[in-house]
Symmetry: C2
Subunit: 758 residues, 2 copies
């Protein structure tokens, strides 16, 4: 009964097998939803549902009407201006990563914000260029338009041949952006926003670290002002490094010095920002200061002509006319676009969910996909490139007090002003300064290396995921690397369950507690009983391992024992037919000295017979296999009568493993080892029934609620059988035989006790 008595666990109830429990406690006849039911719910339609869907497509309709102008507007304005300035600089810098002129970065910083204002569900993220995406896009651009020799183009469109190199690259970048937008919209409509859950923390950490390394390497050429030929994945990173080091003596010292100074100052000020976070009203906008100063200095001292540095150059006023994407590029870049679409969404969504959790409002993954997708299509059409959200920029927007996407809209306004009016002011800015500013954001990402040690200590598999993701992303490039990493990561889930730490349990403390017998001193193992625990699901990839471990644990292969016994039985039967075994009151006497063991080959049918259950119905006695048998008949002895399988952690079985499990259970049952399965769910047994797991040998009575139930059942059964057979011991007959092997090898007398048949 369930009444607490002091600190005592006191239970008294019948021993329950699953069947017995089912009889005592009636089960409800539950209707389990079938696949069709789920489909019906999913596809059902109502006005309400339609309205809800329509509303959810335009989240602005829900938040804009409740905008609190008095309380929020001011902070939105402050936040919008700060974010806008950052967005301008990041747009310019990240355009370099895409390998296109910086001015296009401004378009990428402007358009997505406008679309996201209407469609996005997050109130705090600042959409637009993101270094990792720009990097991935840059790799595609360089693959399709390598640059140095235009004859080598994979795609020689007649339309493109009259475009300059930069124009071609922009064309590629925008086409990929549109394609990736289309994919995101499609994914959003198909409600597959859940895919981001496949990007685990370790994977994202390693991937962004690798991306930071890629960014670092790709910015080197701007910092050193070297002309590096395009290299395509895989191994592009090493090829670029090689190109750089072979021409390192051509470094433009002015660029190197400028960028190092900028880097140093940015790092120091960012450190200050971080340390005095609490005391500073807003973080020092060091990037802005450095840009203004650098532009001024570059203009004042005419760096461009004096030191031959590369500057941002012409900033065309206003927008470019929209262009249609090149369908030809779509096929070439479908894989990359998919990676970009996924990474872009994953980053935006994870940042958005941080804020949604913090400020406690709902965001919708699928709507985010649609919003980002439409942004990208729109941006791509107006010659911007794919965006997501930069962590640093969203951080600025939120920390300076941004409450809603009104702040985003205002930041777009700032970008618009730069595009339309004051862009020309940035023309003397060195590209190396932009590169240095981009690098300034990488410290956090690169510092993730330190996680590695911690991961190794905590979880080897997570550590392995980190290392492999990093290697894949560095070696294969970000797009292919991400795909390989996700595949590898999913594989680790298989690995984790593939080699389960199976263990043998024993009773600890003589109550109903069973634990790994290797772990404790005071253990008690019931005689002749093995308790085997498998702590993971069993399926096609580990059923062999399970069998092997089980055989190791019990110490013998049941199939082999079965065959040996059947072979021995054949011989005994032959002896008996020939009248060489005689029944005496004391047992059987074998009347010959030796028996030629023609170890003849068995044909197919005979071999199959050996795997059948042992059938002794035609013999007038039963054989006790654990005693010595007459003559040279040798059968390994086993001292085990019951096997308990603890399946409480076996979450599922698949068809392959079910067949394997059934085979091994059958083998055990055929050599008279009782098998019990304990700790399973009711569903588990249901499923086995549905799969025709049970037959005459493997019956559904093998299930018990707990190990202790099974142990008690075994004891009762043994007790019963002892009490049944022991009083009649005088009836037992023995198989006596005297053997003289030829050539005087050895003489032996053996007395084989056999149980008589009643």
């Amino acid at each position: 009964m369930i009444e607490p008595i002091g600190n005592q666990y006191i239970v008294s109830r019948p021993v329950y097998s699953a069947n017995a429990f089912g009889e005592d406690h009636k089960k409800k006849n539950r209707h389990h939803k079938t696949f069709l039911d789920h489909l019906k719910v999913c596809c059902s339609c109502s006005t309400q549902k339609a309205k809800r869907i329509a509303l959810s497509l335009f989240p602005i309709a829900s938040w804009l009407p409740s905008y609190r102008v008095k309380e929020w507007l001011l902070s939105d304005i402050v936040s919008g201006i700060s974010t806008g300035l950052v967005a301008v600089l990041q747009g310019l810098a990240f355009a370099l990563l895409v390998n296109i002129p910086p001015s296009y970065g401004l378009y990428a910083a402007f358009f997505p914000v406008i679309v996201y204002f209407f469609l996005g569900t997050s109130r705090h993220i600042s959409v637009g260029p993101f270094p990792v995406l720009s990097m991935m896009l840059g790799a595609v651009v360089m693959r399709l338009v390598p640059g140095d020799n235009t004859n080598d183009l994979n795609l020689n469109n007649s339309t493109n041949t009259n475009l300059t190199l930069d124009e071609q690259r922009v064309r590629v970048a925008t086409s990929v952006t549109v394609l990736c937008g289309i994919m995101q919209v499609l994914m959003g409509c198909l409600q597959v926003g859940f895919v981001v859950i496949y990007l685990s923390e370790s994977l994202i950490s390693a991937f962004t670290t690798a991306a930071a390394v890629h960014v670092l390497v790709s910015q080197l050429k701007f910092m050193l002002q070297l002309t590096v030929p395009a290299h395509s994945d895989p191994f592009s990173l090493f090829k670029v490094l090689n190109s750089i080091f072979t021409q390192i003596e051509k470094t433009n010292i002015a660029d190197l010095v400028t960028s190092l100074i900028i880097l140093l100052v940015v790092f120091v000020v960012k450190e200050i920002n971080q340390r005095y976070k609490a005391k500073l009203p807003v973080p020092i906008p060091i990037e802005l200061f450095m840009t203004v100063i650098a532009t001024g200095v570059s203009y004042g001292f005419d760096f461009k002509n004096r030191f031959n540095v590369t500057v941002v150059g012409e900033m065309p006023k206003g927008f470019q006319s929209p262009i249609a994407p090149e369908i030809n590029y779509f096929q070439e870049t479908i894989g990359d676009s998919f990676s970009i679409a996924i990474v872009g969404f994953a980053v935006a969504f994870s940042v958005a969910s941080v804020y949604s959790l913090k400020y406690d409002y709902p965001i919708d993954g699928n709507q985010e996909l649609i919003a980002l997708g439409v942004s990208n299509i729109f941006t791509g059409s107006f010659q911007g490139f794919a965006g997501s959200t930069a962590l640093s920029r969203s951080g600025v927007q939120e920390s300076t007090g941004g409450k809603t996407q009104i702040a985003g809209l205002l930041s777009a306004l700032i970008v618009l002003i730069v595009i339309l009016a004051i862009g020309f002011l940035l023309e003397p800015l060195q590209k190396s300064v932009l590169a240095a500013l981009a690098l300034g954001n990488l410290k956090g990402m690169l510092m993730q290396f330190t996680e590695l040690q911690r991961l190794w200590r905590k979880d080897k598999y997570d550590c392995l995921i980190w290392i492999m993701t990093f290697i894949f992303s560095i070696v294969l490039g970000l797009g292919l690397g991400l795909a390989a990493s996700v595949a590898f990561q999913l594989l680790t889930i298989v690995f984790r369950t593939q080699f389960p730490k199976c263990s043998t349990l024993a009773n600890i403390g003589r109550s109903n507690i069973y634990k790994n017998k290797k772990d404790y001193f005071d253990i008690y193992e019931p005689e002749g009983v093995k308790i085997f625990r498998c702590p993971s699901p069993i399926y096609f990839a580990n059923i062999m391992f399970f069998k092997q471990k089980l055989i190791e644990t019990v110490g013998f292969s049941p199939l082999r024992i079965l065959r040996k016994r059947n072979k021995a039985l054949k011989k005994i039967r032959k002896l008996q037919k020939k009248g060489l075994l005689q029944l005496t009151p004391k047992g059987f006497i074998c009347t010959i000295d030796s028996f030629k063991d023609s170890d003849e080959e068995l044909d197919n049918n005979q071999i199959e017979e050996l795997d059948q259950p042992i059938n002794t119905t035609d013999l007038p006695f039963q054989i006790d296999w654990n005693t010595d048998l007459p003559l040279n008949i040798e059968v390994p002895k086993i001292n085990m009568h019951s096997l308990i399988l603890d399946f409480s952690a076996v979450s599922f079985l698949d068809i392959s493993s079910m067949r394997g499990l059934k085979t091994i259970l059958q083998e055990f049952i055929r050599i008279k080892v009782d098998v019990y399965i304990v700790g399973t769910d009711d569903d588990f047994i249901e499923k086995l029934k549905r799969c025709e797991f049970f037959n005459d040998e493997v019956q559904d009575s093998i299930f018990f609620l707990t190990i202790h139930d099974a142990i008690l059942h075994i004891w009762m059964k043994r007790d019963y059988s002892t009490s049944k057979f022991n009083p009649t011991q005088e009836k037992e007959k023995h198989l006596d035989c005297t053997i003289n092997t030829n050539g005087g090898l050895r003489n032996r007398e053996c007395l084989v006790p056999v149980e008589t048949k009643f």
Copy 2:
């Protein structure tokens, strides 16, 4: 105590938390093998080990010396001859699948057997051409040498331009064969023979069915005698069918009729063979008869000239000189070669393990890989093509009495005779006859379609694997299809655990048994306690799902409650500071009518504060959150004090899920819900400790051995707390407040009981 008393489960022991149990029962200090230890064992070296490895490289050294000439030789000879005849015909037929002249099939049937004789560990399989492999090889051949316009070649080697189409195709086939052999040898040396476990039964079934469909379609052109242009994957199957149907009127009626007759006869006789298996000494070699008859008829009536049928044609006597593989093809075919290597090995190994199990001798996966690899390298060099084992041929070898690879050697001898001497006899044989003979073997494979229905009933995932593998293999082609299928299959393992069927448990029968409360009538749920069971590992892809299900089960989000309480606390504190709450003997009286609730925005720090533990140490009273609070302060009430998580089926946690789990546990603990985790392994707790899972809030005392232990503990604790507080009830003070909301909206009097602080 563990003594059986009738059919009773009687237990009396202390209630155990994991810690308490650890104190009562000392644990051994076990040294767990580290990664390094395993590596050491793996890399250790000794003379014995070296000897064993050397011996295992040449299995022939172990079985040939013990060959029983008298008993085995005769049956090996009979088996060898039968197998040899089948091998000749299959070699010719399968060469058509590779799209090369039939005579090369004889080389493919000869060389691998010789190598396997020395290196193979299986005694019963007949290595050589296998239709699925030939098919896969054929697809590569057609991709690289499409045939109709040689200008279109992807690889325009100067060396190859002076070769005929057939010669080029043979060149491709042999190069791929060598590459695939090299891969197999490498895999064997790296001991990765275990990869075959990733091919589950459902996958193999669907893959071979798809292969059979591919074979069927590819043989159609020979049966109808149509010229079908080459089509490369993906979608090649549909393209070929389209080509065939557009020119169906050009069918050669003679070929069609011949092949239909052959097919019919072969099917009928095979059926007879199957049905009278037991009575027939050897199966009727119908293929042989049909070949002889067809050749005779074709020669006698001069089919070639009269009906314009295509015949086998010139059979060059003797062997071709060995050639080196074309390294240029290697890069183009690396993926296909890998698939071929894997499929070839998988098929050979699975057939071999069937026989090894039947005749009870060991086979070694890695050695098999090496044997097949060397065979393929050797065969490829002598212009044969990749082989594995054909089920039908191995069946012949075993069923006609083959005991060892001596039979294989003899079958090679038969092939040799055909190559060297009597090959020319086959020259008038129609290709359509060969095609029909190849199709004759497909019935079994195609009949696997019927498995689908059975699978659907048994296991949806397995059924899904079947369908997807079939679709992938049909649509993407066999090579790419296999890769996609394996990936998909591994994904299903993730799927299976990704959406675990979480359930709420309740006590059944008032003893220590807890089951899904939805399943039973007679349930008992302790008041204020929820028992939540997660039946699968928890990791990055399902931690969100786990949280969501848990929140659904308990009916509230602990984070939201925590925030509401903290907000309410802020208000109460404000009231108290302003002196608006007065302590009376009966409780607190709120002395104002209304309290302006400035629902002001909180800044970041304040928001973070809301997630902190509730701190009431500065208040002179404690707040009972489950009663009405004064004024318009509303906090959702919860009627739950304890949460028990049954983790007995949670085989592992990864880092991502650990963080997620910790967060949610903390949230529960902060709103004063006690959390207990039960049913875990000791290793599990160890790992959490290693990962710094525990802190001041989430302590390692939350682990209990069983649900019942936790329940008893909770009861004791509640009892204790009741008995401690109840006698002092007179000390309790109440928070009285009378509220008059403005504008006469409603008048309310509330009496809020609060527990006083001592």
